[in-house]
Symmetry: C2
């Protein structure tokens, strides 16, 4: 049995009190991974962005809005966990300046300066010590090459590769790559089934 | 009895296949207005952005993603309606350029050029003829002044003023202004109650 931290859902980066940048992550794959881990007897801590999905009530759930908030809660929680599954889709750009009031339309174009937010999985990967980290990569081109590059840059033990079609969908199609670039699992189906297959793999390779 | 078009929910404007600009509109106020209109015997057509909320099954619902899509469906549907209640929160800026592939992080800032999307209520207001149009204004400062300015610019018959706190909330607090700047209704409570009060007002002032 392990104590596992699962990040889930999108984050939001506000431009002003109303508008924000985000993505269509529904938290559904996260919720299925939470359920699969609990079914297999693990303790689960969830750090989730704003989603409507319900997490298994046996998990401890922390709610956050922005990527910086997610990083801060993840760092605190990871200190007491054996491993991290980073299935969240944190918004990776934020406006350099957030307006106090709603930006009023003027008829003119608006130039928005964005900067990168901290990379949560990479930060935890660099601090992991003898814990394990599984990342997710959502790619629209050069899929395996980008995924393996991310695995290395983020010090992940495994990386799960999927495509944007998975977002807000009931099904998923994934490949899991290890540090040598081997495809150690390829499967598709309902997110419930894929989550169960992934946890079998994590147990056999990562959880002692 | 009238045939009423209600827009509801947010729209999304994508930067690339994954990231988009949006707002926290949940479609809940829209769903309550749909239910109130149907309860009072009206025919209701809904044009809704991506939301999880459920609309009364007696309404005809059209789903859209972007503001341009919403405008195009609204224009087509409004041709057969007596009035429009524009409670949607369409994303009013879109990236000038949408990338085909997910923008890869480079460690560098990203400059995003945004342009305004068409204003759906203003467009329908300018084309309304003898039909009526109710707009909504979500303001964070100079509330009444901005609302009445919007009413005039968008050729609305009435405008409903609310605040960002209403977004994704179960309650709402509104003021309704007419073309002379009079506050013709002020009420707060559950979105169901507020929707019923609003429809009473619309019937007394707009629906013959």
């Amino acid at each position: 049995m392990a104590r596992i931290l699962i990040t889930s859902g999108p984050t939001r980066q506000y431009l002003d009190p109303v508008r924000y940048i985000t993505n269509a992550s529904s938290g559904r794959m996260g919720a299925c991974l939470v359920a699969a881990a609990i079914e297999r007897g693990h303790d689960v801590v969830v750090v989730s962005g704003p989603v409507d999905v319900r997490y298994d009530t046996r998990a401890t759930v922390h709610r956050v809005t922005t990527t910086d908030e997610m990083l801060s809660v993840v760092r605190r929680q990871f200190a007491e966990c054996d491993g991290l599954v980073g299935v969240a889709a944190p918004c990776d750009y934020r406006p350099l300046r957030v307006e106090d009031h709603k930006i009023a339309k003027t008829g003119q174009p608006l130039v928005l300066h964005l900067v990168e937010t901290p990379d949560i999985v990479a930060t935890m990967g660099s601090e992991k010590g003898d814990r394990w980290v599984v990342g997710f990569a959502l790619e629209t081109e050069d899929h395996r090459f980008r995924a393996i590059t991310k695995l290395q840059k983020k010090s992940c033990d495994l990386i799960v590769l999927n495509e944007p079609q998975a977002m807000d969908s009931a099904t998923n199609q994934v490949e899991v790559l290890d540090g040598l670039g081997n495809v150690v699992l390829a499967c598709s189906g309902s997110k419930e089934d894929v989550a169960a297959r992934l946890f079998e793999l994590f147990e056999s390779r990562l959880i002692h």
